[in-house]
Subunit: 394 residues, 2 copies
């Protein structure tokens, strides 16, 4: 086996830019072999969970279902979308295989082609109601939503007559704010206020926020393309960097740094871990990246990008974020279930300052280096790297 | 097996918006089972091949290598990126597994961590030159590119002394135009004009075009994140629509249409195929979507979005684009090799009007409906759908 040890935060926990998501320690060849696999898995699933958390935040408690499989990068990509979006807050997926593999609730409605395969929309709705009496969701926009609403009301009344209830309708095109209001009014006037309204059609956190701002009476959302591809930011730029070396296992680590003309590509050296500070009410107030070998024991943190900015966490309580999950190639703890990861993510998001969660001009969550680590990074950048090599005298 | 027949264009051929990429005929349940799988495979691979074709066009004959695995949607996504980008015009991939599976040339350089693992950059370069004397590409921007150029020249001279040649250098950050010019000048002055320059760092067709506009002397490009995620358009919105139905195999087809408040979501009915028209010099001048049952034999085409616009292809020669690849569940022809698909794509792009290929305000390639099909669509939209059902009297 590989002689590596790995530390990572529990799945579903929140992380912020510049923080070590995974720390790998071991012989450099073993570590290098893990690089691309780890980046491939972490970058995409973290991105999808993040996008979903944004969409779920915009949906204000209304259910989000992953409809993204047809725009995902192959079958594996579709499974990763379903899994990560469920952890990020989605209630269900339309991906039946993901439901089977991960135990995620599966949700879907019929297609436009179902309607087109019948002589009339009304015939199609009646046939679907007969097939799915307990879970009937009718798609109204194959031809004309106004007529679709009438046909759905007809079928809902017929279902009532046989002791069933139409669960919901879905609208997948057109002015969703206007059309869902029309549908809500028509169903309420027909005594069908229990019928829910679902919407889909290239939705994301911004369109959902706008629909609620317009008063759209939508109960749930199918979110596909922009969730599976994380439009408009389709990549998470996580990298895998060497931060300390030693020639033999016994000797102390030498921290190393990668410089660049671009400050955001300058790495953080050392054996890093993260202290998250919580206030008395359980709200996280900021994170401190620490290297024990240079730890000054300070509760200050120097911003990783702008060294003129520092944060004071002295009134808050620290917790350790990274846990060891692999020791010398052997797993040291069972992975959490998907439900535990999902609830951890929900709890963490609930406790996050709303100013950090808003979409327009969000407050930046404070992340900084413990002063000893900030000094180490400064020294390596300013003095020790002048000769384009590392300090071999320490 | 499934009782479906499938028609598609040969792999690597160019298609344009509104055209049928794949036509599936069979029992509706078999066709429905194929929907998500086909969309998942076609949408993403077509998107990546298209993005790569754009990047390759911008690179004006300079080599492009797929560096996208770490930002792809899982291992399968990474393989799909490597395969589709090779067909779309990339010369190689950094994905070793894709090289093995598909026979794609594999290309890569060492990482920044290689340099950081050695006491000095010069030590690292020397060790790499010893390991890869025939294919040595040195990455210069771990600490300071100016010093990196000097160190690479030192190693290149040492390689010459032992009868080897430094193949290339790579720069992965900073002002690529400025730094590659500096490197070119320094290497030329040192009598090392055979050393090639490779660049990477969030490149896409626009940055590559800009680098050449600035006179950057770059010989090849590693393109990763924006190729694997097709930033800024991370999805291709291909859909799978029912266009004709019949109750029993013997009877004639009834064309069906899906309407919408949004005109771009209105489908094209009928059993469609595509005629591509070429002028005497082999340049495609436009495409006509045809349904044989209503074909008026016209060489005109009515634009699919703006019915006031029509195209006249009378002076050009038609060819049929869709070929049958599956007949009643049995494959009727072997798939082309990846090399044939790649050369088909290159030839097609070479013959495409430059006005269509440019990035800023491109000319729209003419695609229209044969007048008989345009009339059928108009009739279905305007008259037959008023009752939200299909005409069952024909």
């Amino acid at each position: 086996h590989m002689h590596v040890s790995i530390w990572a935060p529990p799945e579903g926990e929140l992380l912020f830019p510049r923080e070590p998501m995974v720390r790998v320690e071991g012989p450099i060849i073993d570590c290098q072999l893990l690089e691309t696999a780890l980046l491939n898995l972490m970058n995409f699933q973290t991105l999808v969970a993040t996008k979903t958390a944004r969409v779920v935040t915009a949906a204000q408690g209304h259910a989000i279902s992953d409809f993204g499989l047809r725009r995902a990068q192959g079958p594996d990509g579709g499974l990763a979308v379903a899994r990560a979006s469920y952890i990020g807050g989605a209630s269900s997926t339309s991906n039946v295989l993901a439901g089977k593999i991960y135990g995620i609730p599966v949700f879907g409605t019929h297609a436009h082609s179902w309607v087109m395969a019948f002589p009339t929309e009304l015939d199609a709705f009646r046939a679907f109601a007969r097939s799915m009496p307990k879970n009937c969701v009718l798609l109204l926009d194959t031809y004309d939503v106004h007529q679709g609403i009438k046909n759905a009301i007809t079928v809902a009344k017929e279902m009532e007559a046989s002791g069933e209830h139409l669960a919901a309708i879905r609208i997948d095109s057109g002015d969703l704010a206007k059309l869902t209001k029309e549908a809500r009014t028509a169903f309420d006037q027909a005594g069908l206020s229990y019928v829910k309204i679902s919407a889909s059609n290239d939705l994301d956190e911004y369109t959902i926020q706008s629909l609620f701002a317009q008063g759209a009476p939508i109960d749930s959302f199918g979110v596909g393309t922009k969730l599976a591809t994380c439009d408009p930011q389709p990549s998470l730029g996580g990298v895998y960097k060497l931060s300390a070396v030693r020639d033999t296992p016994g000797e102390p680590w030498s921290p190393v740094i990668k410089l660049s003309e671009m400050s955001y590509k300058r790495t953080i050296p050392g054996i890093q871990h993260i202290r998250r500070y919580y206030d008395a009410s359980g709200i996280p107030v900021g994170d401190q990246i620490v290297d024990d070998s240079v730890d000054q024991g300070s509760t200050d943190a120097i911003d990783a990008v702008d060294s003129m900015v520092s944060y004071d966490f002295s009134s808050a309580k620290p917790t350790e974020l990274l846990k060891q999950i692999v020791c010398d190639g052997v797993r040291t703890r069972e992975p959490d279930s998907i439900e535990i990861a999902k609830s951890r993510c929900r709890d963490a998001l609930m406790h996050l300052d709303p100013a950090v969660k808003r979409f327009l001009n969000p407050q930046v969550y404070p992340v900084g280096l413990e002063p000893g680590l900030a000094k180490l990074r400064y020294d390596l950048t300013r003095f020790e790297r002048k000769g384009s090599g590392r300090d071999t005298t320490r």
